[in-house]
């Protein structure tokens, strides 16, 4: 098993030179380069370092090695709006979308950064890197949600902003039952002041062509054709953000600029184009795990395949979801002599995990988005791939707003440090929760204003999971096993211990 090496992280498969160059540039340019930081933090990309982003960039994690490929790289990041602190708070996009973390940010990285900078890194900006801006910012406790579960504060407008050019009139009321952080009450925050704070994990911004891909022109969960981008006429995937509040990368950038970056101006068209081009050129996935390279012996893991493949394919009618590891179902005698026993067993486990993912069915019930109006019925029997259906990525080919219960009671895990809201449906009750709903995060309903959408969170990419714990939108699963354990509790699946481990091993190499 590979060990996690923190300082510096060892390059295993990548080209050493770009990172060496980048490290040198970082030492010269980082605003936080200090005795406490040193080479540490070749792993951490600070805004404005001016590092070179290489074509191939590897970072170790507890499951192996994550690789990021930059098409057209290397890229000199000097002056690049993704990397420069164009904000008013010292952040850049890269602050919360770190290459070592699959272009997301792990809670462990946040903790490392707190320790290295004594909490003064722009990552911990009061606006959203603390539990609430009105808390004492020098104290660790004021940043506990970011440090413990990798959560950023997301402030949503209430009532919701117009959507697709139409006014949103909510069909529910929202009250604050509990406000442990002070960001949903008082004279400044809370529904009555038009500001609702929820707390969410940053979504990875690599492999974007898959998240923007549209396989079909219908949204079967809404019973409507997909909306189109009014500027380009393209259909909109609906898979960018947890609550689907932004339909395009441009909208997402504008939202992030005004909130996470606290920009005092709008992004320019050139900045948007440059950031978009960069994000569409990035492909990130685990390149090696306990079984060695994930593209060895006929397997097709790793980011190179992602870079080269067509996005938007539905696994049930095309290349099977996680068929990348089918070759490991039957490991040759030659490979068995070449590999260690542990590597062979791990590969076999990954291959079994892929089959469990596709074929081990269980009853899904009371999950708005898939058990309500689509026609499948409630309950219905399916496997993981039913929702995680896009070939090579594991997100939903259709807009992926589904309520797994991770944010709403009674299914959500218990957290005292998250706000708790009471939703009261004004017209029809929610099909499963009833007229009153207790939720930590109404999710999609904060965008649509519909009671029926409470708790729906957009499925996201499953690539690079090993690098970006914790999981689920509210960081409620600290590790990959906890993800499986949640599904087991939620749907009473009855996975065997072997099946659970096989699924964990599969997810660790994606």
């Amino acid at each position: 098993m590979l060990k996690r090496v923190k300082q510096p992280r060892q390059m295993r498969f990548g080209r050493a030179l770009p990172v060496i160059v980048a490290a040198g540039a970082f030492a010269a340019a980082s605003a936080y380069a200090s005795a406490g930081e040193s080479a540490a933090d070749e792993r951490w990309w600070s805004p404005g370092e001016g590092r070179v982003f290489p074509e191939v960039l590897d970072y170790e994690n507890e499951h192996g090695t994550l690789r990021t490929l930059l098409v057209g790289g290397p890229l000199d990041t000097r002056g690049h709006p993704f990397f420069e602190p164009i904000s008013s708070n010292g952040r850049a996009c890269v602050t919360c979308h770190q290459p070592s973390d699959g272009m997301s940010l792990s809670a462990e990285t946040a903790r490392d950064r707190w320790d290295v900078t004594n909490g003064v890194d722009p990552l911990f900006a009061a606006y959203d890197g603390s539990n609430c801006p009105n808390l004492p910012q020098g104290e660790r406790a004021s940043h506990s949600l970011l440090l413990d579960r990798g959560l950023f504060r997301i402030q949503r407008q209430w009532p919701p902003a117009p959507r697709l050019g139409e006014e949103v009139v909510p069909d529910f009321t929202i009250e604050v039952v509990r406000d442990p952080n002070g960001c949903n009450s008082g004279v400044e925050y809370g529904p009555e002041n038009g500001r609702i704070s929820v707390y969410r994990r940053p979504r990875p911004i690599g492999n974007m062509k898959y998240l923007l891909a549209v396989g079909f022109n219908f949204d079967p969960k809404q019973g409507l054709a997909l909306p189109r981008d009014p500027k380009t006429g393209d259909y909109l995937s609906g898979n960018l953000m947890a609550d689907n509040r932004a339909f395009t990368l441009e909208e997402q950038m504008d939202d992030a600029g005004l909130t996470h970056l606290e920009m005092l101006r709008d992004l320019t068209a050139d900045e948007r184009d440059t950031i978009k081009a960069f994000e569409l050129s990035l492909f990130a996935a685990q390149q090696a795990g306990r079984g060695g390279a994930v593209d060895d012996s006929g397997a097709q893991g790793g980011p190179a395949v992602l870079r080269d493949a067509e996005p938007g394919e539905l696994g049930s009618i095309g290349f099977p979801v996680w068929g990348e590891f089918a070759a490991w179902e039957d490991i040759s005698a030659e490979d068995r002599t070449r590999l260690t026993l542990e590597q062979v067993e791990f590969r076999e486990s990954v291959a079994r995990g892929a089959r469990v993912f596709r074929e081990r069915t269980f009853l899904v019930s009371d999950s708005a988005g898939v058990t309500t109006q689509m026609g499948f019925g409630n309950p219905f029997r399916v496997a993981c791939k039913m929702c995680h259906n896009m070939t090579r990525m594991g997100n939903d080919v259709a807009p992926g707003q589904v309520d797994l219960g991770t944010t709403s009671l009674p299914f959500a895990d218990h957290f005292d440090d998250l706000p708790l809201f009471r939703i009261t449906c004004l017209n029809d009750p929610h099909p499963y929760y009833g007229r009153e709903i207790l939720t930590y995060d109404p999710g999609f309903a904060l965008s649509t204003g519909r009671c029926a959408d409470v708790g729906k969170i957009t499925l996201q990419s499953m690539r690079g999971l090993a690098s970006r714990a914790p999981y689920f939108s509210n960081g409620s699963a600290p590790d990959l096993r906890a993800v499986i354990d949640y599904y087991e509790r939620r749907y009473n699946i009855g996975y065997t211990e072997q099946e659970k481990q096989d699924l964990v091993n599969l997810m660790s190499v994606l």
Binding site: F218, A225, G375
Partner: protein, 257 residues
């Protein structure tokens, strides 16, 4: 009001299980039972017992399947069944409409040796953007029909969505002058299993607006007029699958050149 009630009664008259022959129509309201058969994805069975005849039916082939919390309005034809897949005679074609004002106790049966159906993608399966259908002249005035669950305006997956999508591809190729989208609601009451059923008048407008919105997204710039009518009567068109009630719950898309 009288005429539709009489017509419905004639069509939907309760018949004993022994008297029901292949092709006869059956209609009733009752609570659904889920049989947890496992023959791969979506292979579970839905069974519903007709309280009038005492007969239980396999209604699993409905394009919009039941929710085990609510009663369903079943409309189907007795199928010429071979193998007993779910443990009850089959209705096919069949429709099950959820009645959300009539709660039911959840009930699930084990498979008990019944295999359940292997899921086969239906013929009405959305066309991917990578493989759009092609249509050629001659084009001329034509009407398309999309269908709905009782008292709902949702274009259900692998049924109504496909119909509207295919219509849009044809319209795109035909380049007509405009579309007239008319929503219908079956507002004349019928009595089924002692329950009076009538769609709300508003649903006719909502159906028209949902289809018009979808067509406006599929066909940007197309002129679309919406209309709506209540008191819908059955029509005989293929995609209603010979279910008279289904044909009443429709939207018509009239293509004008």
């Amino acid at each position: 009001m009288k005429r539709p009630l009489i017509a419905a009664t004639m069509l939907l008259a309760p018949l004993s299980a022994q008297a029901q022959e292949v092709g006869e129509i059956v209609s009733f309201v009752s609570c659904p039972v889920y049989r947890d058969a496992d023959n791969g994805r979506k292979s579970g069975c839905w069974l519903v017992r007709d309280g009038g005849s005492g007969h239980q039916w396999d209604v699993s082939q409905s394009p919009h399947k039941p929710n085990w919390d609510y009663a369903v309005f079943v409309e189907g034809r007795v199928a010429d069944q071979g193998e007993d897949i779910c443990g009850a005679p089959v209705l096919e074609p069949v429709r099950t409409s959820r009645l959300l004002d009539r709660r039911c106790p959840r009930h699930m049966l084990p498979a008990e040796g019944y295999p359940g159906r292997v899921f086969i993608a239906p013929d009405r399966y959305l066309t991917s953007l990578a493989n759009p259908p092609e249509f050629e002249d001659p084009f001329g005035p034509r009407t398309f029909y999309a269908f709905f669950e009782f008292d709902r305006d949702f274009l259900v997956y692998q049924y109504s969505d496909f119909i509207v999508q295919q219509a849009a591809y044809w319209i795109e190729a035909a380049q007509p002058r405009r579309l007239v989208v008319t929503g219908y609601a079956a507002t004349d009451p019928i009595e089924v299993s002692g329950v009076e059923l009538a769609e709300s008048p508003e649903i006719a407008q909502r159906r028209a607006e949902v289809v018009a919105l979808t067509l406006s997204r599929l066909l940007p710039g197309m002129e679309i007029e919406t209309r709506w009518e209540t008191g819908s009567q059955p029509i005989d068109v293929p995609d209603a699958d010979t279910i008279p009630g289904q044909s009443q719950r429709r939207v018509e898309i009239a293509v004008e050149f």
